[in-house]
């Protein structure tokens, strides 16, 4: 088997005395879409941020294409092909859409900026309409699109998405997931952290379920969708 694109090996993570992750091991292969589901406070976002070393794990290893990045700086990780659409979107409110997108190119320099801007506007026509508008004036869904597009501007091999459905209307969530499906079928590797288990697992090849900082279950998206425990805990149980 080839080396996975991203791998967690027995990672522990602490916030002071509080342990957020316990012996987490998981992997994401190239071209795969993997989702991590779990309740509030399970440690999902901490896991995602630990890839950028914020905070750093207290034990274990994080590997990206076989290279140990546990102690690497955030900009090193970003420029080697990992991009994140952070939780709560976090677009820069006072910057225009286009400036937000250009912020995304910082890890790789401006060489492809114009070309990539064009690509993003193709992928998200709404952003083209609003290119000179300030990001704070966008709707939630548009901001989420902007956050994803901003992450894509650094030409990542691995796209991390932290709760892309957070606070969005169901119809907008469907749009966002449609876009993610297009990205995945285009060969992008996606690692998705979600509370919306239904959407996430349907999109994913594989999934992990996290409870209290530990991986409880793993399996293919369909397996997990059918799993009675997952159904009762995350899918409104029937």
């Amino acid at each position: 088997m080839s080396v996975p694109l991203l791998e967690f090996r027995a990672v522990d993570l602490h916030y002071g005395p509080i342990q957020a992750l316990r012996q987490v091991s998981l992997h994401v292969d190239e071209g795969e879409t993997v989702s991590l589901i779990g309740a509030n406070g399970a440690g999902k976002s901490s896991l995602l941020m630990s890839i950028f070393g914020q905070p750093r794990p207290s034990a274990g290893q994080i590997l990206y294409r076989g290279e140990d990045i546990t102690r690497k700086s955030a900009h090193h990780v970003a420029s080697s092909g990992v991009a994140q659409s952070p939780e709560g979107r976090r677009v820069f409110p006072d910057m225009s859409v286009e400036e937000n997108l250009l912020m995304g190119t910082i890890p790789i320099g401006m060489a492809h900026a114009d070309e990539d801007l064009g690509r993003m506007f193709e992928l998200f026509p709404r952003l083209r309409e609003r290119r000179n508008q300030r990001a704070m004036t966008l709707s939630g869904g548009e901001q989420q699109m902007l956050a994803i597009a901003r992450a894509l501007m650094s030409r990542p091999k691995l796209l991390l998405l932290d709760e892309p459905s957070l606070g969005l209307a169901p119809i907008v969530v469907r749009q966002i997931f449609q876009i993610l499906r297009e990205l995945a079928s285009g060969g992008m590797t996606l690692f998705l952290v979600e509370q919306n288990a239904n959407h996430a697992l349907r999109l994913s090849d594989r999934g992990y379920v996290m409870v209290n900082g530990q991986i409880r279950l793993s399996g293919s998206g369909e397996e997990l969708l059918g799993d009675p425990e997952v159904r009762s805990a995350y899918l409104g149980g029937h």
Partner: protein
Amino acid sequence: MAEPSLDIRQPLLDSLLAGLIALVVFGPIVGVVLDGYSFHLESSRVAWIVGAVMLGRFLLSLFLHSAGGRGWLQRLEGGGAGVQVLPPEHRSHLRWLLPLVLLAAVVFPFFAGKYLLTVVILGLIYVLLGLGLNIVVGLAGLLDLGYVAFYAIGAYGLALGYEYLGLGFWSVLPLAALMAALAGALLGFPVLRMHGDYLAIVTLGFGEIIRLVLNNWLSFTGGPNGMSVPAPTFLGLEFGRRARDGGVPFHEFFGIAYNPNLKFLFIYVVLLLTVLLVLYVKGRLVRMPIGRAWEALREDEIACRAMGLNHVLVKLSAFMLGASTAGLAGVFFASYQGFVNPTSFTFFESALILAIVVLGGMGSTLGVVLAAFMLTVAPELLRSFADYRVLLFGMLMVLMMIWRPRGLIRISRRGFARRPGVAP
């Protein structure tokens, strides 16, 4: 009533309230006059003041309730937003102003007397300081209350460099920028993880440390007695009536009549060129990725981290560039005064520079330039009102906070047009 006519009740209420407040504020201060060990009451004076306040408040309120007043208020408030994004093809209708200002700046010294010249030099020095702090506070959003330390480093750099190393104006100018930048990095490293109030406190401490060192290291800096600073030279030519050590002074070399203002003219010219250079460099930087990164850091630090922005580099560069600009300003200040001592570098200076940035509009270059002149030149020109300077200053601040909470000139950026091939 079909048409909402002028409502008289609200203005009356407003004026009553204002009168009450005026009574509380002025009553004890103006009304009770100490007379030896006793006092007497001056109720008529209080009545006059309260009456004036009430009348003023009534008229203001009446005006603001009329249709015209409402429109005016709305225009003043503008949008609540911080940054305007202009369309790419936007050309400011103030475009014609720039060459005019430049022309005025070139022509000005031919007509100005020494006094006016020195006032404008001081204004330009504060423009430089404002522009520097604008990078740190306005763009990168790092509240620096000890900015004056870098200014002091520049000024003392010239004084000490002359005293101990025999350096002159020209060699110190780049060195001071460099030294101040190094000091900026020195301050920048420990405060990388801080923001907001904590950063403000640490930088405040830094400013005080520099000042106290200058004040107390008697054997090295002369302490409160200060140090003299050499007059600047041009290609080794001095501006005095007679050069020292048998040299040829500037006016003899060029065969022109001696002019006692020559030194200030020279400082003015070099300073103006420096300000223009800094303006240009800053204008370029803001459009480059690093400028965007500064603003991103101000807007959302967590997002920057999530994007893997090298925030060490971003913060340090902001600190260093801001500091080096202050270093330059310090050198000009020292040559202009011909003397430096620590009282020029108190916390009040930091506050004044910060006021320039805030009043001008955080991040707005034009606003900072305007505010720098307003806060330094205006007090000089209004010498006859010297007693009321602080009062005017306070009133100005209050009015600004009400009507222009984002500063004189709102920061605005032109939207992007497609550019052909941009270098990395």
